[in-house]
């Protein structure tokens, strides 16, 4: 029988990794991720989890160990936050380019300078273009379920997956979490089969220097050049849209919980005003939508769970009836706008959705935001007579901007 326990987001992530029968963990502590890896260290030390916990000198080494482990056929897991994630950056590209199905939790935290240990999503957003799948969770139940799903997705299409969730807001907040049954997880997630394996009876060089053009190898096979390998990665990530949805649907059938796959919706059937975002800010937006409905505004929420690959078609379907879309973002692409707004505006351009769009930058470095404030700024915005289709500067909520 599955059972319900009260736990933090970090404990939920650690239990997800244990249920996924992770074989190698290499991680370096950083707030707010630390209690995740501490939990894993305890589970491994006590023998409750059969895995190697490899201590490393930093995050770059942590992911390097996972890359080596995954290459020889071990299921590998790591976790980090903020500057730790940035320190991994080179290896984040390397894991994706090597098509290794590593799963990493990014416990979202603002990036220094100046130092902050508190939550926003600038860290994972800054790793957007590395070729990793990025899934954003909205509560602790979704974290445990998504870690399990992430390995299934990663090992189906051979791409690494970053499971992102908000630091402190979820990582250190206690919530009831239903723990999936081991036997069901084992059936859902078969053992990892690597696409390539290092083997001393069949020696090969993995990731040699590539030249610009294709070339024939010793057997006369015309091998891919750098550009073809990169195209295969892009093609795999686009294909992941279906895999993420399929895995989510199957998970819902087996475990009875549906987190929506690519996106999720709240009161959208009659909604004209749509709030959107990723992670816990989108959960908070559901309360703001209810406040707006009390004021007679037909509001709803479309939460984005998969940010890479970007679910263009699913979003067009979900947003085609919207008259205005309001993006709540915990990150900035400095010099332009928030990343969700940027991508969503590009995805919707020329589609059947011709809604007006406004971007909001909120909660950087843990600045608090209440649902009533979200409702208020959205209400002010839709009442504004200047709401035309043109690009407008993002509104920074709860920020002294003068």
């Amino acid at each position: 029988m599955s059972r319900v326990e009260i736990m933090t987001g970090n404990q939920a992530a650690a239990l997800g990794a244990r249920l996924a029968r992770v074989q190698v963990v290499a991680a370096y502590p950083i707030t707010p991720q630390t209690s995740l890896t501490e939990t894993l260290a305890q589970l491994i030390e006590s023998g409750e989890m059969q895995a190697e916990y490899i201590r490393v000198d930093g995050e770059h080494s942590a992911l390097t160990v996972c890359i080596a482990a995954s290459t020889i056929g071990a299921r590998a897991f790591t976790a980090t936050s903020a500057n730790g994630l940035l320190y991994m950056h080179e290896q984040i590209h390397w894991a994706a380019g090597s098509r290794l199905p590593i799963v990493m939790c990014c416990v979202n935290r603002g990036v220094g300078a100046p130092w902050t240990i508190f939550n926003d999503q600038q860290d994972s957003i800054s790793q957007r273009d590395t070729g990793w799948i990025q899934l954003y969770c909205r509560d602790n139940q979704e974290i445990i379920d998504t870690v399990i799903q992430a390995f299934r997705i990663a090992e189906t299409i051979y791409c690494p997956v970053m499971v992102c969730y908000d630091g402190f807001v979820l990582s250190h907040t206690l919530m009831p979490v239903e723990i999936p049954e081991e036997e069901k997880v084992d059936a859902f997630l078969p053992p990892y089969r690597p696409h390539t394996i290092l083997d001393d009876t069949n020696p090969r060089t993995i990731n040699p220097v590539m030249f610009a053009d294709l070339r024939a190898n010793a057997e006369g096979i015309l091998c891919d050049g750098y550009m073809e390998i990169r195209y295969k990665l892009e093609y795999a990530l686009k294909g992941a849209l279906k895999t993420i949805q399929d895995v989510s649907d199957e998970y819902a059938l087996v475990f009875g919980r549906d987190h929506g796959g690519l996106i999720w919706e709240y009161k959208t059937s009659d909604a004209e005003v749509i709030l959107t975002g990723m992670g816990s800010i989108a959960t908070e937006a559901t309360i703001a939508a209810d406040i707006l409905r009390e004021k007679g505004i037909p509001a709803g929420v479309v939460g984005i769970r998969a940010y890479r690959p970007f679910p263009t078609e699913a979003l067009i379907r979900a947003l085609k009836r919207a008259r205005s879309i309001h993006c709540l973002e915990k990150a900035v692409s400095y010099g332009f706008a928030g990343p969700v707004y940027t991508d969503l505006r590009a995805a919707l351009y020329g589609s059947e959705c011709d809604a007006q769009m406004q971007d909001y930058i909120t909660s950087l470095g843990g600045r608090d935001i209440q649902p009533s404030t979200i409702a208020e700024v959205v209400l002010n915005r839709i009442k504004s007579d200047a709401f035309d289709g043109r690009f407008r500067e993002p509104i920074w909520i709860n920020c002294r901007t003068e």
């Binding site: 051979y158 390539t196 993995i206 040699p208 590539m210 010793a218 057997e219 096979i221 891919d224």
Partner: protein, 97 residues
């Protein structure tokens, strides 16, 4: 096997001559052996072979007379530097004036 398609999803290669391409065309100086000085040629038996030992590309053949695979010799000049008989001269390739 379909020789027009690479089945691998990541880059890899097996150990084989030429896996890194025809590196000989990187060369701007070519090694020219004077067999009137080269020790194995002079003695008529296996001896010295320091050029073979030191060549980082493995393109020197330890035979009599010594030959060099110019398809893959990058022209680094290590053989000329190591030759105790000063039998190897690095000569500019055409077009590398």
């Amino acid at each position: 096997m379909d020789k027009t398609k690479d089945p691998n999803i990541s880059a890899m290669c097996t150990l084989a001559v030429g896996e890194a391409g025809r590196t000989g065309d990187w060369r701007s100086f070519r090694p020219v052996i004077d067999h009137g000085k080269c020790i194995p040629s002079q003695k008529g038996r296996s001896a010295c072979f320091l050029c073979w030992l030191y060549c980082p590309e493995g393109v020197v053949r330890a035979e009599i007379p010594i030959t060099i695979d110019m398809e893959y010799c990058k022209g680094c000049g290590i053989c000329a530097e190591e030759c105790p008989a000063k039998a190897i001269t690095m000569v500019k390739e055409e077009g590398h004036e």
